[in-house]
């Protein structure tokens, strides 16, 4: 058996170290390390509650709005106020823009460039993949980056700027939109749809979302242009549907909240291939292999105190568990929990894997592009965007949202008008968690086991595909 170390691991938003035990060219055990700890939970302790709106979003520059609205949701429940309906719509529009931009960034800048690697030079498709997707040189970025920048102009109207805005408050959003601005928002959203239909899908979003099952996807793909079909061809050539199987449980806290129900519901997709209610009280954090001191396993009561020399620990990341089990989160999980027909069919047949995670992200992008059009239309221009919200009681409060990469929770305890404790479980905390005290590995650790790395060792591209298929955000992971 040989042990190989992979790192620095780039195009993962932050840094990552993966250690693999390999026997006869096959991974038999994986350890995943988050190499960065900044201590946001410690930094937030003792602060006035609203300061969290300034500090917590700065955990992450790629999902800053998600962090903002998790804070705002927790503080909103503390104050006991409803957000203004327009504020919820404006939040959804900005959040969707961030999430769609993240999905595009992941697809074009983080994930696809690996197909341009020299290791694939022997494949007939390599020249076309390299021309299109090679890191910093491919033709795709020339279209995707301006489309991303244009989409993020939503932030200039709704949120002032991105990343790191203070527009998302417990009572709503800080900037009322007038008619001219609504038209500008619609222009951006319409332009984004046009980019998706021309460049990504080579079809209308409605047609893409009407693909009902795996067989229909194969029919749709044949002979089609666009980068999604390009990916599907590469995925089939490399059997990416067989690579990087997740642990089986898929979770979503529910996303894009309106006055009534969220656009994508909350739930758990389990072993019986059905969506079940999510037992939120069963969320725990295990620190047996994290460089952290023991404490409560309940995020509502735990603290984060580093223990850098702890024996047997190998990551700054804690190990979140749901009813004691590791759980995979992300766009695929969110869409399967939401009952999206194609993704449900794909997951029932083959589980979560590299191919399905990427398909999940792109189909979700199509869905939220359509939802953005609805939200922009639904703004009532003469109604308020923000309710007055002040006065913090003592108590424990939770803000649960879905970031692009999956379920994000902020657990906040307030006392005497100050933050007593603040605990954050980010999406990649779930996906890239270390082992727990039962020696059960996190989702990525499980997904890597069984991977054939052959003679390539740490250079095996399969490892790159599996890791990046989760769209990890390592800066969020240990925060």
């Amino acid at each position: 058996m040989t042990r190989i170390t992979v790192g620095p691991f780039n195009r993962v938003e932050g840094d990552l170290e993966v250690r693999l035990d390999v026997e006869s060219g096959v991974v038999v055990r994986a350890e995943v390390t988050a190499p960065l700890y900044r201590g946001f939970e410690q930094i937030l302790e003792g602060r006035p509650p609203l300061d969290a709106l300034v500090l917590a979003p700065r955990i992450c520059g790629i999902c800053s709005v998600s962090q903002s609205i998790a804070t705002a949701a927790a503080l909103r429940s503390a104050i006991g106020v409803d957000a203004a309906p327009n504020g919820l719509l404006a939040t959804n529009i900005a959040h969707a823009a961030e999430n769609a931009a993240d999905h595009l960034t992941h697809f074009y800048l983080f994930f696809m460039p690996d197909f341009a690697r020299e290791a694939y030079a022997g494949h007939a498709w390599h020249a076309a993949a390299a021309e299109r997707f090679a890191a910093t040189r491919g033709s795709a970025a020339r279209e995707a980056l301006p489309a991303r920048a244009r989409l993020l102009e939503v932030m200039g109207i709704v949120a002032g700027k991105w990343p790191h805005s203070l527009a998302f408050q417990p009572g709503g959003t800080t900037r009322a939109i007038d008619l001219g601005e609504r038209v500008r928002l619609m222009s951006i959203v319409t332009g984004f749809r046009a980019f998706l239909e021309r460049v990504v899908f080579a079809d209308t979003l409605e047609n893409v979302l009407a693909i009902a099952d795996a067989a229909a996807l194969d029919d749709w793909r044949d002979g089609r242009a666009g980068d999604f079909a390009h990916f599907l061809a590469l995925a089939d050539s490399l059997a990416l549907g067989e690579l990087g199987k997740g642990p089986g449980l898929l979770m979503s806290y529910g996303a894009y909240h309106g006055p009534d129900s969220p656009l994508f519901p909350r739930g758990l997709f389990g072993a019986r291939s059905a969506v079940e209610p999510l037992p939120l009280a069963q969320i725990t954090e295990d620190v047996s292999h994290a460089w952290m001191h023991d404490g409560s396993t309940d995020p509502a009561h735990s603290t984060t105190v580093p223990h850098p020399d702890k024996p047997d620990a190998y990551s700054w990341c804690k190990a979140p568990r749901l009813s004691g089990r590791p759980v995979e989160v992300g766009a695929l999980a969110r869409q399967v929990v939401a009952g999206q027909p194609l993704l449900t069919d794909l997951v029932v047949a083959r589980g979560s894997n590299v191919r399905n995670r990427v398909i999940g992200r792109l189909l979700e992008t199509a869905r939220i592009a359509l939802a953005m059009e609805q939200w922009v239309r639904a703004i009532r221009l003469t109604d308020p965007f923000c309710h007055d919200a002040r006065g913090f009681p003592d108590g424990a409060f939770v803000g649960l949202v879905e970031a692009a990469r999956g379920s994000l929770g902020h657990w906040v305890a307030l006392r005497g008008g100050r933050i007593e404790r603040y605990q954050i479980i980010a999406p990649t905390t779930w996906n890239f968690s270390p082992r727990d005290s039962f020696d059960i590995g996190g989702p990525l650790e499980q997904a890597l086991v069984g991977t054939d790395v052959g003679d390539a060792g740490p250079r095996a591209v399969a490892i790159q595909h599996i890791v990046r298929s989760f769209d990890p955000c390592m800066v969020c992971t240990a925060h």
Partner: protein
Amino acid sequence: MNGAEGITNVLWLQGASCGGCTMSILESGSTGWFDELRQFGINLMWHPSVSEATGEEVVSVLEAVRDGKVRLDVLLLEGSVARGPNNTGRFNFLAGTNRSIYHWILELAPLADYVVAIGSCAAYGGVPAAGSNPTDAVGLQFEGGDLGGALGGGFRSRLGLPVINVAGCAPHPGWMMETLLALTSRELAAADLDGFGRPKFIADHLAHHGCSRNEFYEFKASAETMSQRGCLMEHLGCKATQAVGDCNQRSWNGGGSCTKGGYACVACTSPGFEAAENFLETAKLAGIPVGLPTDMPKAWFVALAALSKSATPRRVRANATSDHVVVPPGRGGGKRAS
């Protein structure tokens, strides 16, 4: 800097970072950031978010620089330098190298013609240095507003410049690109930096300049709660009259800025901005904001504020506490021919 091959070798590393500065700079360039870099002869030797090279390929890039085999023209660091625990830097190690970013930076910085801190974290410590500063996070050459930091106050890069601080959280993409391009053309000298190492073309302005709420400021017609249109200085914590940056003379994300977005400037370009409390509430003494413009006698400010408040037009006063325009300009004034 257009050395022998006319190519500028640029290395971008991330320390204790959120990655937001990279997310910002990816908005740069009409056909994307990569095209823009190429057009100016910039060779991005490695960037953690966008380069193909990974694992041992990256380590060879860093070792080639360290061993003097490859020229390093500009070293950029995004994120604070986490020196803890106990100066080991283990809170932030570079994966696969068993070595901290802190120690990599100590080794690489003296080899670069220019060293640039991207964002307020790399410049001054930033948000990771807030509160108890659990990781002993500092900037490259500052700890908050004090000289020092990871490299020390006396550090000079190979061309004799201190660390160039592109402050901001996150900085405007233009601030980062203009600084980099000014270095590429060797147009930025030590004299072009202010006392906190910030390029003067950014730092000679105040975030207040060009604020779309200027009429409300003039009349001290103030917003009282979030989302109202009035000036944010009197009640809602705005520090734009004290914070450097041409924030309101530029367009953020196609037309925004913090104050246009309806919330206070938190002075993210200032060393130690993260140490403040109650960011969205103006600290006052005897009813007068503590943080007045720094170069104006307080008595004059108070007198002028009282005078302008008494002269505030009804339109401005009404709009200041509304989230929509409730009294448009021009009523009772110049009549429009119809």
